[in-house]
Symmetry: C2
Subunit: 139 residues, 2 copies
DNA sequence: TTATGTAAAGATAATTATTCTCATTTATGG
DNA sequence: CCATAAATGAGAATAATTATCTTTACATAA
């Protein structure tokens, strides 16, 4: 994924293309496993040592607002970010804080079919994602 | 749900029965919609004005450790607690921070069947819960 | 080109949920 | 009751995040 891709994405959203925004966006994509702000900062500082922490949080927020990133729910007091904005599920390790993506169109179809028949009372579904908790076998 | 119920539950888990623990446990059960620590404190202070905030957090933690409460994932920087420890799913309001419980054995069966056939590579599933995001119709 | 306006970044202070420390109090088994 | 470990209260400390304010970058118009 080339540098131009990030610049182009930012431009399309009407965001000014700044080195900081490119670096932060690129960091989340490259780090790839739902990094925390801290992990993102560590990564960026290797090539961009003077970036301010406040800038990182502000940029992350605006990338989330513009749907280039998503926040990932977890039960710790630390926010994590996801570069995969298309519909997908998450595998949560029950022993560590590892979170992996899980895509499964067949499963989505199954669940959508299910809720086509069975409505939830007084609730209009917009999106369903699964939190699959378990253990990763080695690696 | 009587006061003795809470005392009994605590005792069964080997936890000393203190007025604070009973009050906090009771608060989460009565408040019932996944309250924050702050909401719990407000509720308790009505009858128990001198309880310390640190105590509330410590008790909540130990109730979670002993599986009398669960933490609820959300994408805010505030922890929420759940008195329903049996397997269930959550309806998240996309506009407010309302979270409701959703139980559905049929759906669980469907999903379990699905994963009986289709294994996830290098991952052993322990639990699957759905985050269903959408809109509550009035009320 | 230079001036000007605006948005973004940097530095750092403030906020806030949560955790920690430690002196004091309390629950519980004997 | 007593002893004692465990729990609570008060307040300080932490840490993630947010806010404030100044400086910088950069686009556009004079
Ligand atoms: Mn925090
Ligand atoms: Mn916080
Ligand atoms: Zn993801
Ligand atoms: Zn619940």
């Amino acid at each position: 994924m080339t540098n131009d891709f990030f610049r182009e994405q930012l431009k399309q959203k009407g965001l000014k293309v700044t080195p900081q925004r490119v670096a932060i966006y690129e960091a989340v994509v490259n780090l790839n496993n739902h990094p925390t702000a801290e992990k993102i900062i560590d990564y960026i500082r290797r090539n961009h040592p003077n970036i301010a922490i406040g800038t990182v949080y502000k940029v992350l927020d605006s990338l989330v607002d513009n749907n280039l990133l998503k926040k990932v729910k977890n039960d710790k007091d630390i926010m994590r970010y996801d570069a995969v904005v298309s519909h997908h599920h998450h595998l949560y390790c029950s022993e560590t804080d590892r979170i992996e993506d899980y895509e499964d169109e067949l499963l989505d179809k199954l669940i959508n079919e299910y809720f086509k028949n069975k409505k939830i009372e007084k609730f209009e579904i917009q999106d369903i994602t699964l939190q699959i908790t378990g253990k990763f076998n080695n690696n």
